[in-house]
Amino acid sequence: MPNIKILSILSLAALAVGQWFIWSYAPLEETMGVVQKIFYIHMPLAWWALVSFFVVFVASIRHLMKRDAGSDILAGAAAEVGVLMSGLALVSGSIWGRAAWNVWWTWDPRLTTTLIMWFVYAGYLVLRGSGMGGERRALVCAVLGVVAFLDVPLVFYSARIWRSVHPAVLASQGGGLEPEMWRTVLVNLGAFGVLWLTLVLGRFGLGRAEERARALLLGGREGA
């Protein structure tokens, strides 16, 4: 797949540029120092994870309407990348929390929403691999893909109210950033976007190949 090769090289280059922005261009944050640089990786990871979950939602609706294999494969690919990226966002967020507030975990609405979504979509991936029959599995996963995304605003809002009564450990992230810091955030958002696209398209291509291999195998069995 030549496009994936080009995209892979592009994403490597974009990530390298992003790293240069993080370490050389963006100024050192006064109070937090070098630990603040986690933010430039953490935020794009969380952002693209949410985009992945939205893609799962749209592809799932499309699958329910059209029953095509492509939408199902795309939903699966996006969910895998989403779980990976939200997992990394959680780990980087936890390291940030430990360095900044001396706690590994705090009830922040964004962090909590990311964790709950990680649980939901990890369950979704378990369901995909549960050995259910082909078309039935695709339908069940599509229904879960829709239901899971409908839950996102409710989870976020409830996590926000839950926290408001408790003492807030966390100040608003990203507030009061220098212009150089904002540029670094945007560059990394773009770089991780290219990486996200590469991973999703790569996994989608792999899913298509798996489907073709299965069809060939079945055709071969029938022919024998």
């Binding site: 709950i116 369950g123 549960s130 078309e135 039935r136 229904v143 239901v147 989870v155 409830s158 009564v165």
Partner: protein, 225 residues
């Protein structure tokens, strides 16, 4: 549609109460959970209202899984699901009927959990009883709407109970948090200042997943094995 849903709910309730395993299992597991969590209370100390409310709703969530697994397994014997699907009953009625039956069975099991929370966790209803009843109905509605939708996952036994709970629990978080916060206020006698906001979340959850359940259930409940 409503009449048919009521017929399905009636059939499920008769089967579950008279000889079914789901309700008894749900009650026993919930009781066991409440008792086991009471062990976390150091001797002579009280469990906070919020901790007791969280334990109560955790027991209810586990009960929900067992209740809906049982309700959907009723038609797995002897091809009854195919019979139900080929009858003139629309799938929506099946969802509504299962949801209604699940709701009532859940309320029944909570009638056991509530006194158990009083006994094992040392709680008392110090707040308003109507608030407790309304919150119970609101949260249970949301639980039943989603339970009746995703319970159909267990169809054909390809997905097991464990998978059902792994998928269901994180989705239930908003409505469970609402239930915990309101129940904590009722147990402690100090209502949460943001009770109205939690009530709004519970109503929104019920509305979203009732609509989603009604729309999506026919995709899940099919004749496939």
């Amino acid at each position: 549609m409503l009449r048919r849903a009521a017929a399905i709910a009636g059939k499920d309730l008769r089967l579950s109460v008279g000889g079914g395993q789901g309700l008894v299992q749900a009650m026993l597991l919930g009781l066991l959970l409440i008792f086991l969590f009471s062990l976390s209370r150091p001797t002579g100390e009280l469990v906070s209202g919020q901790a007791a409310a969280a334990i109560f709703w955790l027991a209810s969530a586990f009960g929900l899984v067992l209740v809906f697994n049982d309700l959907f397994s009723l038609e797995e014997v002897g091809g009854c699901r195919l019979g139900l699907l080929s009858s003139p009953v629309p799938e929506h009625s099946v969802w509504l009927g299962k949801g209604l039956a699940g709701f009532l069975l859940l309320v029944l099991s909570q009638m056991v959990f509530l006194p158990a929370a009083a006994v094992f966790l040392g709680q008392d209803i110090r707040g308003s009883v109507p608030t407790l009843v309304l919150a119970l109905i609101g949260v249970d509605w949301g639980l039943a709407a989603l339970g009746a939708l995703l319970g159909a996952l267990a169809q054909g036994q390809a997905a097991r109970e464990s998978l059902f709970s792994v998928i269901l629990f994180p989705l239930l978080l908003p409505v469970l948090l609402g239930g915990i916060r309101i129940f904590a206020g009722v147990f402690s006698g100090e209502p949460a200042p943001d009770e109205a906001l939690w009530a709004a979340i519970i109503v929104a959850f019920d509305a979203v997943f009732s609509a989603a359940g009604a729309f999506l259930f026919p995709f899940l409940y099919t004749g496939e094995e």
